[in-house]
Symmetry: C2
Subunit: 428 residues, 2 copies
């Protein structure tokens, strides 16, 4: 039987970025990616809002995202593949109370030369027809909304077409000689004793064992290193062999609203914020419902990342809930942006995050010839290039990864035994 140097479970954005960067570091290695779907990026990668922002107070977040976005720019500009980078910016709206809490954080971020502009409520009303004084409304009070006091505009932020990024990594990986098998579902991780005695009931607990590949619905695949980059599905495999990655699956839903009504058309084409001449990606103060300008489709994508009492429950095909839009997102958005009054969502979908409830950061570690790359907590897309490089460094045994642009990153900082990540204070 062929023994691969590495088998990567999962052809989502993280699995493919990992496989590509392994191939780049070790061109002679025989690397195979497998996925249960029939093409790349068809799991939760495809379901995301595909936004990015180079604006975090945690250095970990900032480094992972900023180097990835620079890699995106390189793909778009130097490698000549149009991955539809759109520099919409982020417009983050805050109540007076929220802004007071965040002010010191923002100041220290300004000192690190992170660019942002503060907008006063009146300017926002003028530019966006934003209703900043929602609390005069009885319903808004019942819903516990909050008046908008300020907006923070973050210019180095926007969207990308994640399918095209997936395609990029897949094609480049294949050009380097990488192999992919679709319709191949990992069912079990293969464990063997390091030194087999060839007697029944191996491995015994007094033997040292290692991961030797994966059993799939298409047969067993042997590999020197097995890399699980299966997102929310990772623990289904890992728990079978007593490996723990801190992550729980949580559903996220997106609702698309077409900008057909005049007022919505105007809102989408808001000028003055960015070079795209569009409304920025906008986050409401409370609850933090967000609105993405989906320029290609002349639409808005609306979402809200709810927590308690939202279940942690693994689903292969999570379904969006119409009531989540009708009695939730719509009610909130139309108070702040009356332009949405009467707007229906004509298409919607749902996916799942692999949420690391401990610190919200990715987890990468190696043990017993198994590598785990995951727990990206919903920001895997905007960190994909950096995570792929860190995973490749872990694979070759380097202590530091070279991120795009030459920045170094300590691999063990994202591990479980000497983990070192700062808490992020700017979360949606």
């Amino acid at each position: 039987m062929v023994e691969y140097d590495a088998v990567v479970v999962g052809a989502g954005i993280i699995g493919l970025a990992t496989a590509y960067h392994i191939k780049k570091l070790r061109p002679q290695s025989r690397v195979l990616v497998i996925d249960k779907m029939n093409t790349a990026g068809q799991g939760n990668t495809a379901k995301s809002a595909a936004m990015f922002r180079c604006f975090f107070n945690s250095q970990t977040n900032l480094t992972l995202v900023d180097t990835t976005v620079e890699a995106f720019k390189h793909i778009q500009n130097q490698q000549g593949l149009d991955i539809k980078l759109r520099w919409t910016g982020y417009l983050w709206l805050f109540s007076k109370e929220q802004f007071r809490t965040l002010e010191p954080v923002l100041k220290s971020m300004a000192e690190s030369n992170l660019e942002y502009n503060v907008y006063e409520a009146e300017e926002l009303t003028k530019q966006l027809n934003l209703n900043t004084q929602v609390m005069v409304d009885e319903e808004a009070r019942v819903m516990r909304l909050a008046d908008v006091d300020k907006g923070i505009f973050i210019p180095k932020a926007g969207s990308v077409d994640i399918d095209l990024v997936v395609q990029f990594y897949e094609e480049e990986f294949k050009k380097l000689g990488g192999e992919i098998r679709y319709n191949t579902k990992a069912e079990k991780i293969l464990v063997e004793p390091k030194e087999a005695l060839e007697i029944p009931y191996e491995p015994f607990f007094w033997q040292e064992s290692r991961v030797a590949g994966v059993k799939t619905n298409q047969g067993t695949i042997k590999a020197k290193k097995t890399i699980v980059a299966a997102g929310v599905w990772a623990n289904t495999l890992l728990h079978q062999i007593g490996i723990y990655a801190p992550m729980v699956p949580i559903k996220r839903q997106l609702f698309s609203v077409k900008a057909t009504a005049t007022k919505l058309k105007q809102l989408l084409k808001t000028k003055g914020f960015n070079s795209e001449n569009c409304m920025p990606f906008t986050i409401l103060p409370k609850p933090a419902v967000y609105i993405k300008p989906a320029l290609e489709e002349k639409a808005f994508w609306l979402s809200y990342g709810d927590h308690f009492p939202r279940a942690f429950k693994l689903e292969d095909d999570p379904q969006p809930e119409e009531n989540f839009y009708r009695y939730g997102i719509y009610q909130v958005v139309s108070k702040y942006f009356p332009q949405f009054l009467g707007a229906h969502s004509d298409s919607y979908w749902a996916g799942q995050y692999a949420l690391n409830t401990i610190d919200g950061q990715p987890v990468l570690f190696a043990e017993n010839d198994l590598l785990v790359v995951g727990s990206c907590s919903g920001s895997g897309n905007m960190k994909c290039d950096a995570i792929g490089r860190i995973a490749a460094a872990l694979y070759v045994g380097e202590k530091q990864a070279n991120l795009y642009g030459g920045k170094k990153f300590m691999v063990s900082n994202l591990g479980m035994t000497s983990r070192k990540v700062e808490p992020e204070k700017l979360i949606i």
Copy 2:
């Protein structure tokens, strides 16, 4: 409908200790314990080895265990309930290499006045007929055993009859007016909006919600505070509402060997270590198989806490694996203690730990009127009184818990947001 002050899910040792200490702190509170079984302590509490040792390098462990053992002594001596405290001591066997690594740890523990005695290999051979030179044997080398270099004897250690401790907490809780309902299975945690609008589809995400009790197979129970102390079953309930407690279930097996053969009888009755005039609880160097003298039954209980590739898999009725004894424990034990040659196990059982893979310590936190008490990682029995008191302090909103003997313990040290526990270096 009656609204209890507190409903405790789980009548295992942790649930009952918690309920009892809540009642002690708040005699007027109406407290109900529910359990799916038909009597107390029938889950994994009943499956444990029921050992304790007041010997840890982590202050957290030491405090939790030492105060609990003092509480056990009080129950046995002052309250006059024979819970069968047996001061067998722990005899921990180490190879030369292991001992070298541990020596600094042991020294610092000696400086904290933790009592232990070091035994040389020859003394151990003389007293126990221990085979310290296993590695002359070809099979032992294949099995990667290790010669015994030293033994550490820990006097403040032994066993307790955990069923009797369970009974104690149950009866004392009931004497204080506590209520218990058996055959009552919590199926779902009840979530309600804090301020209900009495319209369909509540709660909405813009409403504040809280835990308002539990739905059981015997109907809904409402409570001001809901306390989940359900051990390995906790996450089944918690994940339904997006609450995360770091724990995975892992199977543990115990095999009882009757001391009928003369050599085993002699071994069980080993003198010179303790006032029970018995073999101490003994931990082998590698792999760390352990042997408990089960005096009441004139037997030994043997076990080994295996990890990778042992699955994390929740089971209501985990089964012991005969091969785990035959090809695992038996093979190892009989190399070190030839007295076990030919010994069969005539009774065996299995349970599950709620293993906190992050730091192996219990987890206690409160949010949205829900309290979580768990992740005891296999040492819940020897920490039960302290954990019950800390849970009760959390319930009444005290920052510090009063442990048995008056020692204070910061409740938040075992929480998730400002957790503070030292890593334990002396683990089996």
